[in-house]
């Protein structure tokens, strides 16, 4: 078995969730690594869009910010931010949105706003950014997050962006026509919504991870799907490309 870290397994599993013909709204950090890994391996024609307005960008190193010059220089075109949010996101032209967060609940609602009460937060987080509308305007949502009791919580301190709300048809009842979160990829497993209840259930466990470990790092009773697969280990090629991407990125960011 190849030697790899849990975060590498997470990034590789997330990259595999993307297809060559996807049009994807990319967030900074883990989503950006996963999307570019997909582009450099099995999905060379994937369209990556960053909220700075860069359409169909092909960065050689990962951007530190959402609007690094690298993104603009390698893009098909760059539009203004109002155009980005109006024509492209709100206009329904983006198939997949990629989100992360500080907290998630079992219906894949996300909190990136505060830990503790809004008026007297214990930790003031950066806030929603594009997420509230990405969550409802993209055709579907992929979420990438490392698991832990403080991040996988029974009740969010604040709902920054919705997933499946309170389950069942509650999302559709709000008038939202898009699918919402279809996959949650963590350092331990891949989760997907139950077709009826919409609660996120474990559909694939990463090699070497136990069901107990998943429960220990989740703040609600974990449900498993009827069929639970084992996630295939990262291939040598996936690991090589990912590590080379990170190495290139670190060199570039240290030099700038």
């Amino acid at each position: 078995m190849a030697d790899y870290k849990p975060t590498e397994m997470m990034t590789v599993a997330a990259a595999r969730a993307l297809k060559n013909d996807d049009i994807c709204f990319v967030g900074i950090g883990q989503p950006s690594a996963a999307c570019n890994l997909a582009r450099l391996t099995h999905a060379p024609d994937i369209t990556l869009i960053y909220e700075s307005g860069t359409l169909a960008t092909k960065p050689t190193v990962l951007p530190l910010s959402i609007g690094d010059g690298e993104l603009c220089e390698t893009a098909l075109t760059t539009v203004s931010v109002p155009e980005m949010f109006r024509y492209w996101l709100q206009g329904g032209r983006i198939k997949v949105g990629f989100l992360g967060g500080a907290q998630i609940d079992k219906y894949a609602n996300l909190n990136t706003t505060v830990v503790g009460p809004y008026d007297r937060p214990k930790v003031r987080l950066p806030g929603g950014g594009g997420a509230p509308e990405i969550a409802t305007s993209c055709g579907e949502i992929l979420i990438i997050m490392a698991q832990g009791k403080r991040s996988f919580v029974d009740k969010l301190d604040f709902v920054t962006s919705i997933g499946h709300v309170s389950g069942g048809d509650s999302r559709a009842k709000l008038g939202v026509k898009t699918k919402g979160p279809t996959k949650l990829i963590t350092d331990l497993a891949i989760w997907a919504p139950d077709p009826a209840t919409k609660e996120m259930t474990v559909v694939s466990i990463h090699p070497g991870v136990t069901r107990e470990q998943i429960q220990e790092n989740t703040g609600w009773p974990v449900k498993l799907a009827a069929q639970v697969a084992e996630t295939p280990v990262p291939t040598a090629k996936e690991l090589d490309v990912l590590r080379e991407l990170h190495a290139r990125t670190n060199r570039a960011h240290a030099a700038a």
Partner: protein
């Protein structure tokens, strides 16, 4: 009508205590030199509007210039927290900070509505989340034609917009290239504006027929400040200094180290401190 002037004069004339001001630039072309000048001139009780507060607002908040922040994402991109922003919200240091929090889509729409002379922005957003519970300015409006419920917020109409651009000509026509953000909208939505540029040229260079140009009669003060966006970047001039963005995490984490840095690098300096960043890359390119 554009007036070409010094940075100190432009800020003195355009930015007043108690103003609502928008320093814009979405990662690219963030007006750092102008931010430093506002701090040096000791402006107080400002309402700051900006999609991504970034280091500029972290500095202004930490230096006590700000009473209210209107924003949608308050982090250090790719690095983590804005510690001065957090200290103000979590501990009220140096004083309490009022928040009016939005999403990016809302902020972008509010600038566009402001530039369009409309009282409010209407868009499909804020569905199901908690932001409308903590921001009374987020309302719902029903489309009179389809019955669809949409989000509405007031348009942004700042007193002053402050932006950085690559070039202006001597008449004050301003040209912007690369990641455009909301700078054009911010200037057109505001009563007054200050535009710092990498260089003022006799004639704007050859450009695409659709290049973004703010005509001189839409711009207030134009100031040549080479390097004035550093550690943000100016496409075609110098790259984003990602290592400084990482260093800022340590500088700003602690109140004393923050104040010491601000004294050495802002209070005791002037706009010409930025020239080195422009010059360094010019030399590297030659």
């Amino acid at each position: 009508m554009a007036r070409i002037t010094s940075l100190a004069d432009a800020i003195a004339m355009a930015v007043h205590d108690g103003d609502t001001i928008a320093l814009e630039g979405f990662t690219h072309l963030i007006p750092h030199a102008a931010c430093h000048e506002i701090i040096r001139q000791g402006r107080k009780n400002l309402t700051l509007v900006r999609m991504t507060p970034d280091l500029v607002y972290d500095q202004m908040i930490g230096m006590g210039c700000v009473s209210k922040l209107v924003f949608s994402w308050g982090g250090n991109p790719g690095v983590g927290s804005l510690h001065r922003f957090r200290d103000a919200v979590e501990n009220g240091w140096p004083h309490k900070l009022e928040l009016e929090e939005h999403s990016h889509a809302a902020m972008a729409n509010a600038y566009e509505a402001g530039a369009s002379g409309l009282p409010c922005a209407i868009f499909r957003g804020y569905i199901g989340g908690d932001l409308p519970k903590v921001n009374a300015k987020i309302k719902r409006i029903t489309c009179p034609f389809t019955g669809e419920e949409l989000a509405a917020i007031p348009s942004h109409r700042p007193d002053v917009a402050v932006i950085h651009a690559q070039r202006a000509d001597r008449a004050g026509n301003v040209m912007i290239e690369g990641v455009l953000g909301v700078q054009k909208e911010a200037v057109l939505a505001s009563k007054r504006s200050v535009v710092t540029v990498e260089e003022i040229v006799d004639e704007l260079p050859e450009r695409s027929l659709n290049a973004v140009v703010l005509p001189h009669w839409t711009v207030g003060h134009v100031v040549e400040v080479p390097g004035g966006a550093f550690p943000s970047y100016a496409q075609g001039y110098y790259p984003r200094n990602n290592s400084f963005y990482k260093q800022w995490d340590d500088i700003a984490k602690d109140r004393d180290s923050f104040q010491a840095w601000m004294k050495t690098n802002v209070l005791d300096k002037g706009p010409d401190a930025f020239v080195q960043y422009a010059r360094k890359h010019k030399a590297a390119a030659e």
